[in-house]
């Protein structure tokens, strides 16, 4: 097996153009597992972990641009203000995995259990892709089209994800059957947009892709508006709103039974996580 070590993104894209079968490797925390388990024997590996452009993140005109090669450990250290992303990053694997694993790799693998993905979905992130021929951006929900299925073309690399900074509280939570280093049985990312008066909730590990819960989102945004909460965080919400929000989120899940958990439990957990997340968000804004 060949290992190709481009120094720049352009070099990498040129290689990819000529050898689309070369498989990108970033942290290798998914790919090396596949190699170890004898599930993949790519003819060549293309190391993208050294490409400077992929290793950066920056703020640009109210947007966050997160290079595909930024590791979870760096997210936790460098981006504390993006709370849901940090919480998701913190929940990934173990310290070793967080030191190597990247959001780009999470996107490349496109598992419905990928922990960065509900955050990207909730922020309506765009995925920036590049080939020797040029660049394009694809909304996250169009990028991932099924379990381990994306619209990435063989000559393309994932460069970054972009999203508009959202003012307002939010969180990421994940349930698994042990207290760390566990693949999500169900996960929920909630983001409240104080400027847009919208609520976004995304669910991981309970469907073929990351799911949004539009009905629940509209319901709670409406309830917040009705209570005057967007203008006054001290406004009290009817007690059943959080519960009903949870129920509506649970209804949006499309879980299955598998070796990690039952469909019934997954749906239930989504409801509990969503309800708690909403309560925390309301409290966080009130306390702010």
């Amino acid at each position: 097996m060949e290992v190709l070590l481009p120094r720049t993104l352009d070099e990498a894209l040129a290689i990819k153009a000529g050898r689309p079968e070369a498989v990108p490797i970033a942290g290798g925390t998914d790919l090396m597992v596949a190699l170890n388990f004898d599930r993949a024997r790519p003819p060549a590996l293309l190391d993208v972990s050294r490409l400077p452009e992929l290793r950066q993140w920056r703020r640009k005109e109210g947007w966050l641009v997160l290079g595909a090669g930024v590791t979870y450990a760096r997210i936790v250290r460098e981006l504390p203000e993006v709370v849901p992303l940090v919480q998701a990053a913190r929940s990934v694997g173990s310290p070793q995995i967080r030191n190597r694993g990247t959001v780009g790799g999470n996107l490349g693998t496109a598992s419905p259990a990928g922990d960065a993905l509900p955050v990207l979905a909730a922020y309506d992130a765009e995925v920036e892709l590049a080939s020797a021929g040029g660049r394009r951006t694809v909304p996250f929900n169009e990028f991932m089209v099924g379990p381990k299925k994306t619209v990435l073309r063989p000559d393309e690399l994932i460069v970054a994800t972009h999203w508009r900074f959202v003012r307002g509280p939010g969180s990421f939570s994940k349930v698994g059957t042990r207290n760390a280093m566990v693949i999500a049985v169900a996960s929920v990312c909630l983001v409240l947009d104080e400027a847009g008066h919208t609520v976004r909730v995304a669910l991981g590990s309970v469907g073929p892709t990351i799911l949004r819960a539009p009905d629940a989102e509209r319901f709670v945004a409406g309830a917040l508006a009705a209570a005057g909460w967007w203008d006054d965080p001290r406004a009290t919400l009817p007690a059943q709103v959080a519960r009903e929000f949870g129920e509506r989120v649970a209804a949006a899940a499309r879980p299955i039974d598998d070796v990690r958990g039952t469909a019934a439990y997954r749906r239930h957990a989504c409801g509990v996580l969503a309800r708690r997340a909403l309560v925390w968000a309301l409290e966080a804004r009130r306390a702010a």
Binding site: V33, N36, F37, D38, Q87, R90, S91, S94, S171, F172, S173, K174, V175, G176, T177, R178, N179, A180, M181, V182, I183, A184, V185, S187, V259, R260, G261, T262, A264, Y265, H268, A269, V272, L273, R276, V279, W280
Partner: protein
């Protein structure tokens, strides 16, 4: 005998001596079985059955054999000697002949120049299977008309224990049904070894194992070689816990090495490791406890089923243990125990830390809590009131002669400090159920406390004389006197080798002790299992040291005599010197013109097999433990976090206190795993989670602080009064944690591991019908004689005739 022990010798018995293998292990320099390497080495690969039950119509190896880089492809017909092997019964084919009985059963082996070639070639072995109906449920296996796993039926062994009057009436009865799942030992080092062909037509096998001699006993006949031509050497062992008691890659590597004339190494992948060793038997247990109104146990009925999968392994001994410990460390005047070890087409089960005791401990401790509840009594009081003690009679009619501080372990356990109550207000999610998942600020979290008491045998039981041999040599070096200890005992990570060194230091007063690499050049040490090696190989080293000391003292006296002096008082050894009545006589070095060497064998006191009513003096020594678990449960999410484990252990005497603590913590982690997450999930005999991605074991965030207390009541008649401690924490942790979960949730959880669905009531408790009828006893011999090893492992223990 007149040998004083020397407390001054550093690193002796009773001190937390530094581990002899600690530094290389921490530095990554220690060579494990999977690190073995030789010039010209080939890589072995195993082709395994994808079916739980199938007839093999034919195997086509042509494509594999012609694959470039392949040096040999071997089938059952190529096994040079006996076609089957096994620990107690030789019922397991080295390679499947006409039939496969579980998913993962080896069908063919091959050797190639590199591992990738070996894997690719393995895919080219074409096996023509006729898939047959499989039985993968242990109760179904007992029903008439079920598919037969072996021509001799689906029962390996049935044990019936009739004690007192099983019809004795009681004031209060409680009844329950319990299940435990198949657990994996999760040895971090997978099965690994290397076979090197020798010039004499024999073979040297370097292998990570628990018992070199029992391996050789099985390997040599299959190779058609006399035992002396099959030399085994211990390779670095990365954990065992029972997973290395059975032969795995041993015979395969030797066959390939003998065929190709080159060293052959086989290392299993993690997935293959799940097929490559036996697991903890899944259990179904029905129990009925009767007591007087004031809480004295009167009568216990237990029906125990263990699913042993496709082959015997050590299942007969496991079921005997499960039966004899079924009622717990309590005085039970009347009992009926019916325990059956069943064959199914599931992966084989055998030894795992606790060896039949954890399954019944899970059940009897739940029953004790039920009884306490029915009587309105405190759970600890019910246990204290019925606790066994020295002089008690077990349900097999054995009088407990050794130390039995059951009351003490319970009291010491309960006296250990409780964890602090959580402060009011939002809490750090990391410390809550759900941990790194950030699922809670403390909402819906409830605490529960549970306790469990258990006991288990040390060393082999039922008339088995599992003696241990050791050779000790004292010689002079430039730096003073030194000791070499030679024992075949396997260090499996638990610290045994350090214990042997500590014993030699204490006995001989010499700090500089080295270990000869364990191999079959010396007699058997028995297995590193059954918590027995500190007692058995520790005992052998002690005996050999005392023989060496005797010779040394003879020389000292002789020299004194020739100088016209008589030495008064007892001779002792201290700090490299000989003392008479405490006064220095001279340096040990001065008496070592000739090195002194002695070889000795330690035997424990004899035991008896169970008779037809399950009665007999079966166990050598018993060790007891009590554990208290404090858990937090997220009532809405069904997630659990163990906050603290408090564990009190009867160890007789702690040879290495830090090692004891390590065993308590590690054992508790394994019991915690079974309580909360560890399960080999099966679907029609297929393992659904053969990886550490989906077979979850506890992480640091799952393991709570363990506070422990060690009860030291020396066991009479054993070296230093020391009992073993390797297994007890495992058996009590599972029931203690599940009891705490019941207390926190109020739910009658009756299956381990407990799943989130169970904790929130999404799944009901596991239900059962009535217990299956017991097979006739004694019944026909379960395994025909020709399959057997005749005297079995016991042959190994015959004294050497050199």
């Amino acid at each position: 005998m007149s040998v004083g022990t020397l407390r001054r010798t550093r690193g002796g018995v009773g001190s937390s001596a530094r581990r002899v293998d600690g530094v290389p292990k921490v530095k990554g320099a220690f060579q494990y079985g999977s690190d073995l390497w030789a010039e010209e080495m080939l890589w072995g690969q195993t082709v395994r059955s994808p079916h739980a039950h199938a007839r093999i119509r034919g195997v086509d190896i042509a494509k594999a054999l012609s694959y470039p880089g392949v040096r040999a492809v071997l089938l059952a017909a190529d096994v040079p000697g006996r076609k089957t092997f096994g620990l107690e019964f030789a019922d397991q084919p080295v390679l499947a002949q006409d039939r496969v009985r579980y998913v993962g059963e080896p069908v063919a082996i091959l050797a190639a120049v590199d591992p990738e070639v070996a894997r690719r070639a393995a895919e080219r072995v074409v096996v023509d299977y006729e898939v047959l109906p499989a039985v993968t449920d242990m109760e179904e296996a007992l029903r008439p008309g079920a598919p037969q796993v072996h021509e001799y039926g689906n029962v390996l062994h049935h044990v019936r224990i009739v004690h007192g009057d099983p019809d004795a009436p009681a004031d209060v009865w409680v009844e329950g049904y319990y299940e435990t799942a198949m657990q994996d030992q999760a040895i971090l080092g997978p099965e690994a070894g290397m076979a090197v062909p020798a010039d004499d037509g024999g073979v040297d096998l370097y292998v990570a194992t628990q018992w070199l001699h029992v391996d050789r006993q099985q390997v040599a006949p299959c190779l058609g070689l006399p035992p002396e031509k099959v030399r085994l050497h211990l390779a670095g062992v990365g954990g065992a816990f029972g997973a290395r008691e059975d032969v795995s890659m041993h015979i395969h590597a030797c066959m390939l090495a003998l065929r190709t004339g080159r060293p052959v190494r086989i290392v299993y992948s993690r997935e293959e490791s799940f097929f490559g060793h036996v697991h903890r038997h899944p259990s179904r247990v029905w129990m009925r406890h009767g007591a007087t109104r004031d809480g004295r146990l009167v009568n216990v009925y237990a029906r125990v089923l263990l699913d042993g999968g496709a082959y015997a392994s050590s299942g007969a001994a496991v079921i005997t243990n499960a039966a004899t410990f079924a009622t717990g460390p309590y005085e039970v005047p009347n009992a009926l125990v019916e325990a059956t070890r069943v064959f199914t087409h599931n992966p084989p089960c055998g030894a795992m830390r606790g060896f039949g005791a954890p399954q019944v401990c899970f059940a009897h401790e739940a029953q004790m809590d039920r009884l306490a509840q029915a009587l309105g009594m405190d759970p600890a009081r019910v246990r204290l009131q019925n606790a066994m003690k020295t002089g008690s009679v077990t349900i097999t009619g054995q009088v407990v002669r050794g130390s039995a501080p059951v009351r003490q372990v319970i009291e010491r356990c309960l006296a250990l400090p409780m964890p602090e109550e959580p402060a009011a207000g939002p809490r750090d999610p990391q410390a809550l159920p759900g941990g790194a998942g950030n699922v809670s600020r403390g909402e819906g979290v409830r605490r529960g406390v549970g306790i469990a008491v258990g006991y288990k045998n040390i060393a082999y039981s039922g008339g088995f004389d599992d003696s241990a041999e050791a050779r000790v040599r004292v010689f002079r070096t430039a730096d003073g006197p030194a000791v070499e200890v030679h024992s075949a005992a396997a260090e499996v990570g638990e610290g045994l080798h350090t214990v042997l060194v500590q014993v030699a230091r204490t006995e001989l007063g010499i700090e500089h002790v080295t270990l000869h690499p364990p191999d079959t050049a010396i007699g058997s040490a028995g297995s590193t299992s059954a918590s027995r090696q500190t007692m058995m190989s520790g005992g052998a080293v002690q005996l050999a040291c005392r023989a060496v000391a005797e010779e040394l003292f003879r020389r000292v006296r002789a020299r004194a005599a020739s100088a016209g002096r008589t030495l008064r008082g007892e001779l002792t050894l201290a700090d490299g010197r000989v003392l008479a009545a405490g006064e220095p006589v001279g340096e040990v070095d001065n008496y070592l013109d000739e090195p002194i060497e002695a070889r000795r064998t330690y035997h424990h006191r004899p035991t008896q097999p169970l008779d037809e009513r399950g009665q007999g003096d079966v166990h050598v020594t018993l060790a007891f433990a009590a554990q208290r678990a404090v858990v937090e449960v997220d009532e809405e999410l069904g997630l659990a976090r163990v906050v603290q484990l408090a564990s009190a252990h009867d160890v007789g005497r702690a040879i290495n206190p830090q090692g004891v603590e390590g065993q308590i913590e590690g054992g508790a982690a394994m019991g915690l795993g079974l309580a909360l997450m560890e399960e080999v999930q099966l679907d029609g005999g297929r393992i659904r989670n053969a990886s550490f991605t989906d077979y979850l074991i506890p992480t640091f965030l799952d393991m709570p602080p363990v506070v422990s207390a060690v009860v030291e009541e020396p066991e009479p008649g054993v070296p230093y009064g020391a009992k073993g401690v390797g297994e007890m924490a495992t058996l009590v942790a599972t029931p203690a944690i599940v009891a705490a979960l019941r207390a926190a949730t109020g739910r009658p959880l009756n299956r381990a591991p407990v799943r989130p669905d169970d904790l929130i009531g999404l799944a009901p408790p596991v239900a059962s019908g009535p217990p299956p009828p017991a097979p006739a006893v004694p019944g026909p011999r379960p395994v025909p004689h020709y399959h057997g090893l005749d005297a079995g492992q016991q042959e190994l223990m015959r004294p050497e005739s050199d």
